[in-house]
Symmetry: C2
Subunit: 182 residues, 2 copies
Amino acid sequence: MQKDTLCLGLLSLGPRSGYEIKQMFEGPLSDFYSLSFGTIYPTLNKLQDEKYVSCKQLSQSKKPDKKVYTITKKGKDLMKDNLLGDASAYIRSGNFGDQIKSEFFLLLLFAKYLPQETLDTVLNERTLFLRQKLEQFKYDGPVPSDLQALRNEKSVAFIRGLATTLIESGLNYMEKNRGKLN
Amino acid sequence: MQKDTLCLGLLSLGPRSGYEIKQMFEGPLSDFYSLSFGTIYPTLNKLQDEKYVSCKQLSQSKKPDKKVYTITKKGKDLMKDNLLGDASAYIRSGNFGDQIKSEFFLLLLFAKYLPQETLDTVLNERTLFLRQKLEQFKYDGPVPSDLQALRNEKSVAFIRGLATTLIESGLNYMEKNRGKLN
DNA sequence: GATTATATATATCAACCTGATATAGATACC
DNA sequence: GGTATCTATATCAGGTTGATATATATAATC
């Protein structure tokens, strides 16, 4: 997804600074996508130059100033056009489309070169890690206000449910079939 | 995973040219990782300079010459060391670790900006796409000789089984819950 | 038999992105 | 008082991708 469209999409959930956009990527979005500061800040500047977002400088007591960006009508139109135009390309990506880049699967691919003991540890820790992830996705308590906008989206509920299902069936498979790696 | 380790790992399954390594990434490995020619060729040159692989120039009738690389003892040792050293880092990556980069999930996140009709089409095509992927992973017939080495690995059977399970439960979830996106 | 498309094979490079680093004010802790 | 951490913006070296170039050979199309 184009970084422009992505930033506009996140700003469509409410006005935000670059720092806060980064926090969304490090929170609930981290499993699906990420952008670095080196991309976010220049993108926001470009979007502002081209009037897709407006910017207000806020001086805060007790914290450094921040630049809060708000999506404009022109920006919303661009975002919708881009989503529509690229939708068909995104159908074939991710979750066994073309973007997984799983280093863990690569490690398993070469499992025969690991000592049995190491392989056992790896599989045990992977199980623990996935159980933690599962708890994260299932967690339904309060979240920092920055992330509440995301939490409120119907689509986020759908995606969290899907993620939960996938992790559960993956854990199940691992427990039943890990013996086959020896 | 370091590109060096990855190339050495693939060469450990048998001697290969850079072009053939790329073909592995475009075949069964494409769902988990990929490297471009711009990375593969320089990596092989570097590995050769440092004696981790040896190289034979083959002139073929009916095809251009190719450079076939073979992993050396020194190369196998390096690969094993690297796998062991980095194993713990790979536990937390991929399949709801930190590397998915799913553009499809992002598209769903902004589903409310798509016309209902487009969203329906997107979900239908996604279902078709995943069913095709499922057939690919389940396919057990003959494969091009380049890819037979991969097919023979026990670990590949494990990973194919896991992928099959994940796609099946994902499809199931989508069919049951797609109404929640409206 | 001429042209076009496609496959094998290697190589390079501009454009882009990340991860690291720099800067800076403020709070918290010991 | 020193140090660590959080908020906040910004820049940049280094690395990767996707596109492009080059070359040979086969197959298809016209």
